[in-house]
């Protein structure tokens, strides 16, 4: 009998308003499908990609700058053409999206962990701790986030020994993008925490004697996660763009591990010599990915908080 009353998580989700709103929103469905396809394509790149752009033995310089297959001088082996070194553009996009997504997700998670922790502490403890954390956030907000990412990247290059640059550059990138984005989370979480900590269920936990860290983890955190998920989705799109921007500027991942940003940069040099495909296709892939994630984030925001419309 108890089993009959107890609903599974899946059942509760399917009954819930979120799933209902998703079902009725074609934009959300399409962007969700596109996002899933792109993530899957990137994740299974070694299986899908017709060529391995990192296998130097398989790359032939004679295949350099081949236009897309449907154009004159096109080669059916290279559907979207090749770059200046003879790498297949389609395969490189798959591998590049992989780096972009890894950096995007990792830096979002990093920013979330830092931002949520500081936001919870700031809101719950209050007083001078709160003032201190929030002033740092204010100071950081007065710089453009790309500048902060550049700054961290630059400092890291100065500090880390030269021979480790290639190995560490992706971690530095994640750290730089993550640090430049934590403020959003901290502010939102702090605001929700201020509301939640005065609710009676938190006071009830305090009357029982539950310690502050447990209260934050068990009671406050689950109740402030709604808006955080919305920011995280929108931030993911932003992080991917930031990564592409940094790589485009040449301070991101090294050219040997191409991300979408590096591909666009490489193609940019050949744009005026007529080899448009090297830069356009990675650019389109980036736009589609970011647009899909962004639309998904917009839908999530509307669905979770109809008043924000």
């Amino acid at each position: 009998m108890e089993q009959a009353i107890e609903k599974s998580r899946l059942q509760r989700f399917l009954d819930g308003d979120l799933w209902h709103s998703f079902k009725r929103n074609p934009v959300a469905i399409i962007s969700f499908i596109v996002t899933v396809i792109m993530i899957a394509a990137a994740a299974f790149a070694p299986l899908i990609a017709p060529h391995d752009p990192f296998n130097l033995a398989a790359i032939d310089i004679m295949d350099a700058s081949v236009p897309p297959a449907w154009q004159e001088f096109g080669d059916p082996r290279f559907v979207l053409g090749t770059d200046d070194q003879g790498r297949d553009i389609f395969s490189t996009i798959l591998y590049g999206a992989r780096i972009s997504l890894i950096v995007g997700f990792a830096s979002v998670i990093f920013a979330m962990v830092v931002g949520i922790s500081l936001g919870l502490i700031s809101g719950y403890v209050g007083g001078r701790t709160d003032a201190f954390i929030m002033r740092i956030a204010d100071i950081q907000l007065s710089f453009p986030s790309i500048l902060i990412a550049l700054l961290i990247d630059g400092v890291a290059r100065g500090v880390v020994p030269k021979e480790m640059h290639t190995d560490l550059s992706i971690y530095v990138l994640i750290f730089a993008i993550g640090v430049s984005g934590w403020v959003q989370y901290a502010r939102t979480v702090r605001g929700s925490t201020l509301v939640e900590k005065n609710k009676e269920y938190v006071q009830a936990a305090r009357v029982i004697g539950i310690r502050p860290l447990t209260i934050l983890w068990r009671h406050v955190l689950p109740n402030v996660m709604g808006p955080v998920m919305v920011i995280a989705t929108i931030h993911l799109a932003l992080a991917i763009i930031t990564e592409a921007t940094l790589s485009f500027l040449g301070v991101g991942v090294p050219p040997t591990t191409p991300s979408l940003g590096t591909l666009i940069r490489i193609g940019n040099e050949y744009l005026f010599s007529g080899d448009w495909w090297i830069t356009i296709f990675p650019g389109v892939a980036l736009v589609i990915l970011v647009l899909a994630v962004n639309l998904l984030g917009d839908w999530l925001r509307d669905a979770l908080n109809p008043k924000l419309r």
Binding site: E200, Y201, Q203, I208, G209
Partner: protein, 575 residues
């Protein structure tokens, strides 16, 4: 033909979980100069009727059957534009919250003159004259001067008078008042109701007044219609309905109203309302975990003794301590609570009674004074672990059942949390068994454990709160307005439950309320607080019969008179 006729009204709210019938086959009529009360508990559909009459039904609600006639003219089929013309001109409206019914950016004059000119086309000068005259009629002193003021410059009661003036300004034939005094203090409520009744008689206006409050009904109405789950269960003269109700729902509703004049042993006949059943399983407390001997120290003298308690809040924060502006929320409060006693703390909002409760259970640290519990001054204890021993002995039940339970946790985990934290049971299996017994004991049934709080009604949630508070096996329970967010019949059930538990478990209680009739039903002794100070402490019956402090007398005089209500079936407490 009456002034306003509502015939066979049916209103449906379609939703994706099925259609909700908010109002089902309701017929009412209002004569000129008559006040008809529509009474019912939340969800009874009473406000929906009012909204349907003025054509402001909130989507997706729709009238599927019946019609509304104003002086024999059908008004529910009119176009939006025509309905708009009737609103304000022929049907006036008074809503619950006077602050939100007035435009804060316009002076009272602008709002009144605009409305008068729009409906009566008198021209500016005449409209202005009429506006001043209206304010005089609703009892606003110096109307010529006050008319230039903005809404925020009026007090709550005065603001509601302005709203009434606004409702009257086009000389409507009917006035719909939806909970017109719920947001006001009791003293102001009496004046406003008197005013509304007089205006209604003088101008031969028909009034439909929607309320949940039997006091309002007793004060102002000529006839009453009782609503229950969208249906009209009984209608008749006020005297008849209050004094000699026929329908069992009306009878149980009236018997559940806490009386200011007598003390009941228990509230009778409250089972009509379909909450989950009363006790489903009785526990043998001599053997059950809940009743087992507790390892608390025996106490000589009072269990709780407060000495010169002071609490200060910062009203203007500043970085440096000396620049802060402080305010004494609780100022030099001392009282004792004996073992097994229910001590009431009564006062208006802002009197500091909740702050006292929060200091007792260490949520706030007092600025000065002692909180002696079982002979130990809790304010002197620094170690959390040592404090846990005392926390286990005292628990608190909060006011708002919707925010006092964490919506992300199952009821099982909510009630089990204190047991697990204080390690009061040896195995997880035992914890679950105890939780289910507790839920059974508070009348919810063990199946409640696997559900989430949002699946329960307010009264049921309050039962979950009570189960959680009992889960540490406390000997002292603090109840902070435990029923003020509940409907009157649910309130009666919860108060009955608290009374039973108190007797069974020999609990000592601090019971906080702003509601004197409730205090009279629950408490042995009462303390009266005003602006952070304790003005009187007396035995309950003494307080009600011979109040000592002037402020207590004032509070008692403001209580709604409910002499008209039927006393049938009430069990009085033996004196």
């Amino acid at each position: 033909m009456a002034l306003l006729n509502i015939n066979n009204l049916r209103i449906e709210f379609p939703s994706r979980h099925g259609t909700v019938v908010a109002v089902d086959d309701v017929s009412l009529n209002v004569q000129p100069g008559e006040v008809l009360g529509v009474v019912g508990e939340s969800g009874a559909g009473k406000s929906t009727i009012g909204n349907a009459v003025i054509g402001l039904l909130e989507p997706p609600g729709e009238m599927t059957e019946g019609h509304v006639l104003l002086k024999s003219e059908q008004i529910d089929t009119l176009s939006l534009e025509e309905k708009r013309k009737i609103r304000g001109r022929r049907i006036g409206m008074i809503f619950q919250d006077p602050l939100t019914s007035l435009d804060p950016l316009q002076t009272v004059e602008q709002q009144l003159v605009e409305t008068i000119d729009l409906h009566l086309k008198l021209g500016e000068a005449k409209s202005q004259e009429r506006a001043v005259d209206l304010l005089r009629q609703v009892g606003i002193p110096e109307p010529e001067l006050r008319i230039k003021n903005y809404p925020h410059q009026f007090s709550g009661g005065m603001r509601q008078r302005v709203v009434i003036a606004l409702a009257l300004c086009a000389e409507p034939e009917v006035i719909i008042a939806d909970e017109p005094t719920t947001a006001l203090d009791v003293s102001i409520q009496a004046q406003i109701l008197e005013l509304m009744r007089r205006l209604c008689k003088d101008k031969q206006v028909g009034m439909l007044i929607i309320t949940h409050d039997m006091g309002v009904i007793a004060d102002i109405t000529d006839r009453v219609a009782v609503m229950y789950h969208g249906k009209l269960v009984e209608e008749g003269t006020t005297e008849k309905i209050l004094g000699n109700p026929d329908h069992p729902y009306t009878q149980s509703l009236i018997s559940a109203v806490p009386r200011p004049d007598v003390r009941l042993r228990r509230f009778p006949m409250v089972n009509y309302i379909e909450e989950e059943g009363e006790r489903t399983k009785d526990l043998d407390l001599s053997t059950h975990w809940l009743g087992q001997a507790r390892d608390f120290d025996a106490v000589e003298g009072p269990l709780l003794s407060l000495k010169n308690l002071v609490m200060t809040f910062v009203t203007k924060p500043a970085f440096l301590k000396r620049n802060r502006i402080m305010f004494n929320a609780v100022d030099d409060v001392s009282f004792d609570i004996n073992q097994g006693e229910v001590f009431g703390l009564v006062g208006e909002s802002g009197s500091g009674k909740s702050t006292v409760a929060r200091m007792v259970c260490s949520l706030y640290t007092p600025a000065a004074g002692e909180v002696n519990f079982a002979g130990t001054d809790l304010t002197k204890i620094k170690s959390q672990n040592e404090l846990d021993y005392y926390r286990r002995q005292m628990q608190m039940i909060f006011q708002d059942p919707f925010s006092s339970l964490n919506g992300r946790m199952k009821v099982l985990d909510i009630v089990a949390e204190p047991i697990r934290f204080h390690k009061l049971a040896s195995s997880n299996q035992e914890v679950e068994q105890i939780v289910m017994d507790l839920l059974d004991h508070v009348g919810l049934g063990a199946q409640a454990a696997v559900r989430f709080p949002h699946e329960f009604s307010g009264g049921q949630r309050q039962r979950i709160s009570i189960a959680r508070a009992l889960a540490t096996r406390p000997r002292f329970l603090i109840c902070d307005e435990p029923t003020s967010a509940l409907d009157v019949s649910i309130q009666a059930q919860v108060l009955n439950l608290l009374k039973d538990l108190q007797e069974e478990l020999g609990l000592t209680m601090l019971f906080i309320s702003h509601d004197l009739p409730v205090i009279r039903q629950m408490c042995d002794r009462v303390g009266v607080m005003k602006m952070g100070k304790l003005v009187e402490v007396s035995a309950t019956e003494d307080l009600f019969e011979n109040p000592k402090a002037a402020y207590t007398k004032e509070l008692l005089d403001l209580m709604p008179r409910l002499d008209k209500l039927s006393h049938e079936g009430l069990e009085l407490e033996d004196a």
